[in-house]
């Protein structure tokens, strides 16, 4: 039974990959590239130890971002504001960690808490606007993203939080080695798998556990299935909205940390600011399920990392962006088709099964 559903839900992503590979092949042919060579070199490179390490590291970031989005999606809340939440979280974490001179464990724990609190607080504004003032979180989080960017440049350029970390680069004060979480060189001796990779596995399990094994998770999912039924069952929708948004923001606050603590050591103005949007795409791919999201994050990271190899071969790296866009659009459409099909087949199947038992439904 569950295997059946599981099998069906694999169709969509596979279709997405197949169609995007097909379209990409057409494009490659059009630009006179050797299709076979391109894909085989992407795969060859992508499976080398160093590239795999990079993929795992990038996927860690994407995974967290997608989880932050997914927890909202689970109850039909659209947190488009992960961007703003994580950049603010990362700046605050960077500033605090830069100022700390503690042993590793307390330092890292404080850094993580700061990031989560700041991310949650920023998301909390949207939550408050929604429950108290009826403002759609879609639009408020978009506005909050713009505001966050302005706050960050203000803080880094005009306050003492900002330092010149290297010539022409301004950012938070560099974090001492004791505050970093650089990770372990497991696959490749030169490159480390971020410490946060392991933490995010734990967060993924916690996400699954909270959603599927706790009462709170049940309330959250029930609200997503049917807000009206959830209300009748005694779930306080406003409270759920606030708590879920805060949780989403807290996870979002972590998005910048794998890179900050694993590599960058300072939030500077080159820090990427659009991982939140990537998270949306990956949450869609992974259907808000932690394993699905992990796979989606790995696929996305694989394409990103492999694009570096492509450009060396003279293929524009943006071809992978097109693949990502296509995968998303094909997958969301086919999920929808599959979902409908699944409902009707299940209804028919139940009716058939009952007929076979000799009872009428």
């Amino acid at each position: 039974m569950n295997f059946r559903r599981f099998g069906i839900s694999l169709i969509a992503p596979l279709l997405g990959v197949v169609i995007s590979v097909a379209v990409t092949s057409v494009i490659l042919v059009a630009i006179n590239a050797n299709v076979g060579d391109v894909f085989s070199s992407m795969i060859r490179y992508g499976t080398s130890p160093r590239a795999m390490t990079l993929i795992l590291n990038l996927a860690t970031t994407y995974f967290l971002s997608a989880l932050a989005v997914a927890i909202g999606f689970k109850m039909n809340l659209f947190n488009i504001g992960v961007n703003g939440q994580y950049v603010l979280g990362a700046v605050a974490a960077g500033a605090v960690a830069g100022a700390l001179t503690l042993p590793k464990i307390p330092s890292v724990i404080i850094t993580i808490l700061v990031a989560m609190v700041v991310g949650a607080a920023w998301a909390g504004i949207a939550a408050w606007l929604k429950v108290a003032r009826g403002v759609s979180e879609v639009i408020s989080t978009i506005m909050l993203n713009f505001i966050a960017i302005a706050i960050i440049s203000y803080v880094i350029v005009r306050t003492s939080v900002g330092h010149e970390t290297s010539l022409n680069v301004r950012g938070t004060k560099e974090i001492a080695e004791s505050g970093m979480l650089r990770g372990l060189a497991l696959l490749d001796e030169g490159t480390k798998i971020y410490g946060f990779f392991f933490i995010s596995i734990f967060i993924g399990i916690a996400y699954w556990f909270i959603l599927n094994r706790t009462r709170f998770g049940y309330d959250l999912r029930a609200t997503g299935h049917s807000a009206s039924a959830a209300r009748t069952s005694g779930i306080d929708a406003r409270r759920m909205t606030v708590v879920t948004m805060l949780l989403s923001g807290a996870i979002a606050g972590l998005v910048g940390l794998p890179y900050l603590l694993g590599e960058a050591a300072s939030y500077n103005l080159n820090f990427p600011t659009d991982w939140g949007f990537t998270g949306i795409a990956i949450a869609l791919l992974g259907r808000n399920n932690p394993v699905g999201i992990a796979v989606g994050a790995l696929l996305w990271a694989f394409l990103d990392v492999a694009s570096g190899q492509l450009i060396l071969e003279g293929i524009p790296r943006e071809i992978t962006t097109i693949m990502q866009g296509l995968i998303v659009i094909v997958v969301v459409i086919s999920y929808e088709i599959v979902r409908r099909r699944q409902l009707t087949t299940e209804q028919t199947r139940v009716a058939k099964a009952l007929e076979a038992q000799g009872v009428s439904a």
Binding site: T214, S226, A229, T232, T344, T345, Q347, V350, A351
Partner: protein, 509 residues
């Protein structure tokens, strides 16, 4: 046109939905210039048939003839062109549009490139005064009540010049005097040569207006009667509808104990406009007692239930076993042992896209066997779901299927089973057996009886007056938000009760 050409003739109509055969081999013939009623249980396939006649759904098999010509409809526009109009079971109105906009939508008069509002206004005024359907064309629909909305729906149909009118349960939401007005309008329309197809669950209404009645059971036509030439009673129709003698929901013996389980004082619920929908009512229910509330839909019964469950803002006090729960959250009320079977099972009682065992948890997720307060206990919940499936005869291949895959009746059995588990002290139930088959109905009644004997207090609302009379120990009649009469279930007849509900007559206390 010759006298014996039918206005509408449907032959051999089949319509299948996944898992359901909504219409199987339906044959229907409607004479011109008559009111033709169609009756049948919930889910019998009436609305589906009408949607087919109106071009909203395509039949899998079968033919449609209008005035003797066989036609096939690809969309409602084709049906409209053929002179058919339909008033749907649920209002089909855009709240943010004006009355005028709602009426002309789809057949707008034009002046040059613009919509000709002046002509539309004039036409609507003409039609509405001709048929006694007064409405202000420039009013916003959002500001109007159900009576006005019903009139707009009929105006929509007339505006398109329909000669064949389909009305799917038009009276369900109307108060008695509005029903009378509607029937006057229908009679006028009939006189003017229109043909009317009329669907209702209220069999006395049907008998008073229809020239011919067709009964549909389980998707197929089982017969037609002409109340002018044949002697038929509501009871006869009911027997045709369900295929057997109606089971009697008789409760035997007096099980009422002393303990007051629910005490409600001065309960008032205000509508958004500030008008009371529930108007200062008080009552008590004791352990082992079933209190029935009789009333035409829309008189405040839904709001009473919602207020008791903490889903609606209200004033007044509610005590549950001496504890004041007036300001308690829905969840806390449920945790005290109040079971709730809401009116709309799809919207309020089920997670259609979740498996049965997760539906078992809904509303009880804070308690055993579903959770230990913080963590869920899926194993125990699944076992208990199996128990419900067995005890309540929920017909399903397993507890992992999605709730949406079950038929309405089986969904209802699951809900009743869920709300009766965990030994509730009080059950608040709206239409607990609506739309479910006779056997299942009897089973649910049995469960209620047993629980009552064990001391359960029940607040019951039901449109099925036999059920209400048969199960209740006490009946109160609700009209416009207030109790207007008490009825003794031992002596009252459905007819008397029905009259009392409309405010037209008194019942013996």
């Amino acid at each position: 046109m010759s006298q014996n050409v039918a206005a509408v003739e449907l032959k051999g109509i089949w319509k299948r939905f996944p898992g359901v055969i909504a219409n199987s081999d339906i044959n229907l013939k409607v004479e011109p210039g008559t009111v033709h009623a169609i009756v049948g249980e919930n889910g019998a396939g009436k609305s589906t048939l009408m949607k087919i006649l109106y071009g909203m759904q395509k039949p899998d098999e079968g033919t449609i003839s209008i005035n003797g010509t066989e036609l096939s409809f690809a969309s409602p526009s084709d049906a409209i062109d053929a002179g058919i109009g339909m008033v749907h079971q649920h209002f089909m109105l855009a709240d943010n549009f004006t009355v005028l906009e709602n009426i002309v939508l789809g057949s707008e008069p034009r002046k040059g490139l613009s919509l000709n509002f002046d002509k539309a206004r004039a036409d609507i005024s003409a039609i509405s005064s001709e048929n006694g359907l007064e409405v202000d064309p420039d009013a916003l629909v959002a500001d109007l009540g159900v009576g006005d909305r019903q009139r707009i729906e009929i105006l929509k149909v007339l505006y398109r010049g329909a000669k064949i009118l389909i009305l799917d349960e038009p009276t369900a939401v109307l108060v008695p005097h509005e029903v009378h007005e509607l029937f006057d309008t229908l009679r006028d329309l009939k006189k003017a040569g229109n043909t009317i197809i009329f669907i209702s669950h209220k069999l006395d209404e049907v008998l008073s207006i229809a020239d011919e009645i067709t009964v549909i059971r389980r998707g197929t036509t089982v017969g037609s009667v002409n109340p002018h030439t044949q002697e038929v009673s509501a009871q006869d129709l009911a027997v045709m509808m369900v295929g057997s003698e109606l089971p009697t929901p008789e409760t035997r013996g007096d099980t009422i104990r002393d303990e007051v389980v629910l005490a409600v004082e001065n309960l008032t619920v205000l509508a958004s406009g500030g008008k009371p929908i529930v108007d200062n009512i008080s009552f008590q229910i004791r352990s082992g007692e079933i209190l029935g509330i009789a009333g035409v839909e829309g008189n405040g019964q839904a709001e009473i239930l919602d207020a008791l469950m903490g889903l609606e803002n209200s004033t007044g006090t509610v005590h549950f076993k001496k504890e004041d729960i007036s300001n308690m959250s829905t969840r806390n009320r449920r945790e005290l042992g109040i079971g709730f079977i809401p009116e709309d099972r799809h919207r309020q009682a089920l997670l259609l896209t979740a498996p049965l065992w997760e539906n078992r948890m809904l509303g009880h997720q804070t308690l055993a066997p579903n959770s230990n307060g913080f963590l869920l206990t899926p194993g125990a919940a699944k076992d208990d779901t199996k128990r419900i499936v067995e005890e309540f005869d929920v017909r399903t291949p397993g507890i992992d299927v999605l709730a949406s895959a079950l038929s309405g009746g089986n969904q209802q059995k699951l809900i009743v089973g869920r709300e009766m588990s965990g030994e509730p002290k009080l059950l608040i139930a709206a239409h607990p057996t609506r739309g479910i088959d006779v056997g299942a109905q009897a089973a649910i009644w049995d469960h209620l009886r047993h629980a009552r004997e064990a001391g359960l207090a029940v607040l019951l609302i039901s449109a099925d007056l036999d059920e209400l009379i048969g199960l209740s120990d006490t009946i109160k009649v609700l009209l416009r938000g207030a109790f207007v009469a008490d009825a003794n279930p031992a002596t009252v007849t459905p007819e008397q009760l029905g009259t009392a509900m409309t405010g037209a007559g008194k019942v013996s206390a």
